[in-house]
């Protein structure tokens, strides 16, 4: 299937000489939730801004649903809703006016029923006559989302959607994202909260220093790069790890009661099964066993560190 967004060879060098993006190639699949991960200053917002038409790229090309973002900017931009990172709203407008304004700006005829539905879905209906300046931070964030959804976009960009957002709003937002996806909306979110990507995304892209370091199906990524840890609670404490187990690089807890084995699917270390067999053969007994998968966060930190 044709990707809904196709970014090829996009670079961006600012007038200051700062190269924010180096040769970005990225396809976004129709209907997916794509998480773009990266540390601050990695180029996430620059990339989004280029696709949305806010920043001019230095070279390369971008198409949105087959429409070139320059030649067919109307068709391309009309499909996109953007929720930027900063809370930037005309403070003196009412919620109702500002959301209707956004709808008009994107070329849609007035539709009070639809705008009402958007506001109700985001628990903003009670505030429809309030001026933006009187809203709390969380409410402003909802308002930004309402503006982006006011024109029924097929693609939604969420730039750091949950930065500084409380738990309730975060959960509401995740629920909303899932609902939108069920309606076939493609969602691209940038974040440096890994758990967000882990909870939401179908695919994950990691960007660092203006380069896409990796794009992978999330589950695949976790499987391929994920470290696993096996923790054994020993029946009787050990003073040292016997030399016979040196190839496992086991860690012994200070009290000698716990053995930890760290392994991943790429390493050359032997598997868990052989370790357990050998421990039994050596007469080391354990009363409990526990395994942990490493989180996306660790994977991410490793990747970024490797590149630095």
């Amino acid at each position: 299937m044709q990707p809904i967004i196709s970014i090829s060879g996009v670079t961006k060098t600012y007038a200051t000489g700062f190269q924010a993006l180096k040769e970005i190639n990225l396809d976004i699949v129709r209907g997916e939730i794509f998480a773009l991960l990266g540390p601050n200053g990695a180029g996430k917002t620059t990339l989004i801004s280029i696709v949305c038409g806010i920043v001019n790229r230095s070279s390369g090309s971008v198409t949105v649903d087959g429409h070139d973002i320059n030649r067919d900017y109307r068709a391309a931009r009309g499909l996109i809703g953007l929720v930027p990172q900063e809370l930037t709203i005309d403070a003196f407008e009412s919620v109702w006016a500002t959301v209707n304004y956004s709808r008009g700006l994107f070329g849609k005829p007035a539709d009070k029923a639809f705008v009402e539905k958007v506001l109700r879905d985001l628990s903003l209906w009670d505030k429809k006559d309030a001026k933006a300046i009187t809203l709390s931070g969380g409410m402003k964030r909802r308002l930004m989302i309402a503006k982006a959804l006011s024109h029924e976009p097929r693609i939604l960009f969420l730039d750091e959607p949950t930065a500084g957002v409380d738990v309730e709003l975060r959960q509401d937002m995740w629920a909303m994202v899932r609902r939108l996806r069920e309606d076939g909306v493609t969602i691209i979110l940038t974040t440096h909260y890994i758990e967000e990507a882990e909870a939401m995304a179908d695919r994950v892209g990691v960007i660092n220093r203006g380069e896409i370091v990796l794009v992978e199906n999330k589950a695949e990524l976790m499987r391929k790069l994920g470290r696993k840890r096996l923790v054994l609670e020993l029946r009787s404490p050990l003073a040292t790890v016997p030399d016979a187990f040196s190839r496992y690089a086991l860690e012994l807890s200070p009290d000698g009661g716990q053995l930890t084995y760290t392994y991943d699917n790429q390493s050359e270390r032997p598997g868990v099964a052989s370790l357990i067999r050998e421990l039994e053969a050596a007469g080391i007994q354990f009363r409990d066993i526990d395994t942990e998968n490493s989180s996306l966060e660790e994977i991410f930190v490793n990747l970024v560190r490797k590149q630095a």
Binding site: C52, I54, A76, R77, P84, Y101, S102, R103, L105, G107
Partner: protein, 259 residues
């Protein structure tokens, strides 16, 4: 139908409406304060100076300064309306929405400049009505009066739009109106006929574009002008074209909008 050939009229209307709503919300600042300050000009200049200069070109001094006063407000308000309208979203960051919307540059200009010009035209007409309470007015060429009003409002709204895009701070936003426009309007023959100036200063004055606006506008009232009406009209149109060219360049290059 080619979607690019269709205007996004919903967007033009949305922007225009927001701009007009702002004017209504800030009605004191937008309408009342210029009316009060114009009335003060009228009282101070009209009475104080008018008692010494009884008439110019056969027109009573009070009536003589009316077109100049309207022009003065029209220029400053057009510039400040339009420059603020585009600078403010840049300042708070809400410009992102405009830049990401399927709107053409032409539509953006029509909406913002249209909004700013509408406000200053309404203001000009209110000042005209206010002035008619103080002095008897005649308007010999009502069509041309309106034409100069609209042309000037549009031209200087465009000029304000350029300043609003160029400005990087509120200080810069005020700089051009304060350092250039205010002196030009005061020296542009609003309060006197340039024929009253000594030779060399009269020549210098002819480099001031405001002279042509005021002169042409005054002609539409009283049929008398400092410079010929054709030249007035020509100069106004030239300035309009210059502003259009600059705006076109700004949008083509993304100057200070799309870095």
């Amino acid at each position: 139908m080619n979607p690019r050939a269709v205007m996004n009229l919903h967007a033009v209307w949305a922007i225009y409406r927001v701009e007009m709503a702002r004017a209504l919300r800030t009605v004191l600042q937008s309408i009342v304060s210029p009316v009060i300050s114009t009335s003060l000009y009228f009282v101070v200049f009209g009475s104080a100076i008018g008692s010494r200069i009884t008439e110019i070109d056969g027109i009573s001094y009070g009536a003589f300064i009316v077109p100049g006063l309207i022009m003065l407000s029209l220029l400053t308000q057009s510039i400040s309306n339009a420059s603020f309208a585009i600078y403010f979203p840049k300042f708070v960051g809400s410009i992102y929405e405009l830049l990401s919307a399927p709107v053409s540059y032409l539509e953006i200009v029509i909406a913002y400049v249209g909004g700013a010009a509408t406000k200053s035209i309404v203001l000009g007409l209110i000042i005209l009505a206010t002035a008619s309470l103080f002095v008897p007015l005649t308007i010999e060429h009502p069509f041309w009066m309106l034409a100069f009003l609209v042309l000037t409002a549009v031209t200087f709204s465009l000029f304000g739009f350029i300043i609003g895009i160029w400005a990087k701070s509120f200080e810069q936003l005020q700089l051009v109106p304060l350092l250039i426009i205010t002196p030009l309007t005061f020296l542009g023959g609003s309060f006197y006929s340039i024929n009253m100036l000594p030779g060399i200063w009269r020549t210098v004055t002819l480099f001031n574009p405001v002279v042509y606006l005021v002169s042409g506008f005054r002609w539409s009232f009283y049929g008398k002008s400092d410079v010929s009406v054709g030249v007035s009209l020509g100069m106004t149109v030239v300035f309009l074209l210059v502003c259009i060219a600059i705006v076109a360049w700004i949008f083509r290059t993304g100057y200070r909008l799309r870095n």
